[in-house]
Symmetry: C6
Subunit: 75 residues, 6 copies
């Protein structure tokens, strides 16, 4: 089963969740050790700039997902 | 009720507010503790570079919202 | 009166000014205290990297404004 | 054989892998020494912000790959 | 005379020069003092990361200029 | 002879090389001294985050080049 079978989602909110998943996947592929990632998460979840940087990655991925879904506009 | 039912807004200003909401949501999903986020906010709201970084995330999300609304151009 | 009634501007230069306004608005909404912002401004206006970061946000917002105006191409 | 013969991929997941490859290639072209890159990798794989920055580059490249594949939408 | 009368340029190279001009203008509007900017320039022109950041802003503005010129494709 | 006569390239790989060239040109225009750039290069080629930042600029320029080439899709 692919972790990214499609960029299509039913709603914008699900699209946003997918963007978060995509943002985390690049991290996971670079640092596959769950324990280390968990420790790092504790660090950056308590640092304002780290959280802002993470939000920027999500925003970039969400652009892609939103385009793939034609912005969820009913035609 | 979804926090992001649609990317459509009536005006550019409302679209900008939505972009801010989207930018904060990624932070909230990574750091769900309201008290910690509130403390972090006090930090970055007094740091020029932190504020610029936050504005960059909003700009990225606003691109998506503006496209979804066809830039609010009357047809 | 909305601070962002439209993304349309008569000229590219006015569009660039609007992009600056948009970039500052996210900062203002996060740090509404005029005095604190004024103090922070003194800091980042004297730091090369801070100015570059600010210019990046303007560039991102200008992309949106330029698209909304179809790049001010006469049709 | 080109390392980038095409931006076309069969699936979104393969497209994401290509985006990772593209992100690493710029690094490799700047620092061609395998040993040094391997050492640097150990550094940034244990730093939360470094991983977030890397994920941002992947997200930017994935935008390009996704567009090249028309978001893998079946027509 | 406007500093940005149009996004149209005759060639890609002129478009790149315009992108550099646009990137510097945001800095100038934030720090209008020529002497201070000149001093800051000496700093960041000798710092690798500062130069990379500046190049990123130019890349972002060049995207806009290139789109405005339909990538200088002869039709 | 222009350093950027066209954004058109025969292949994606050549397009990626062009994106690298464009990324370096902004640096060169800000710091024209070859010796200083060479020294700075030694610094950032041994720093993981510096390399990631450089890769981000390449990714941004590659978006532009890929669009100019319609993603090298055979029609």
């Amino acid at each position: 089963m692919s972790w990214l079978p499609s960029l299509k989602t039913a709603t914008p909110e699900e699209g946003y969740s997918l963007a978060i998943k995509m943002s985390r996947m690049a991290v996971k592929m670079t640092q596959p050790d769950d324990e280390i990632r968990s420790k790092l998460r504790a660090d950056y979840a308590n640092n304002a700039d780290s959280l802002t940087m993470a939000s920027h990655v999500v925003a970039t991925n969400f652009q892609t997902v939103a385009q793939a879904n034609n912005f969820w506009i009913q035609s």
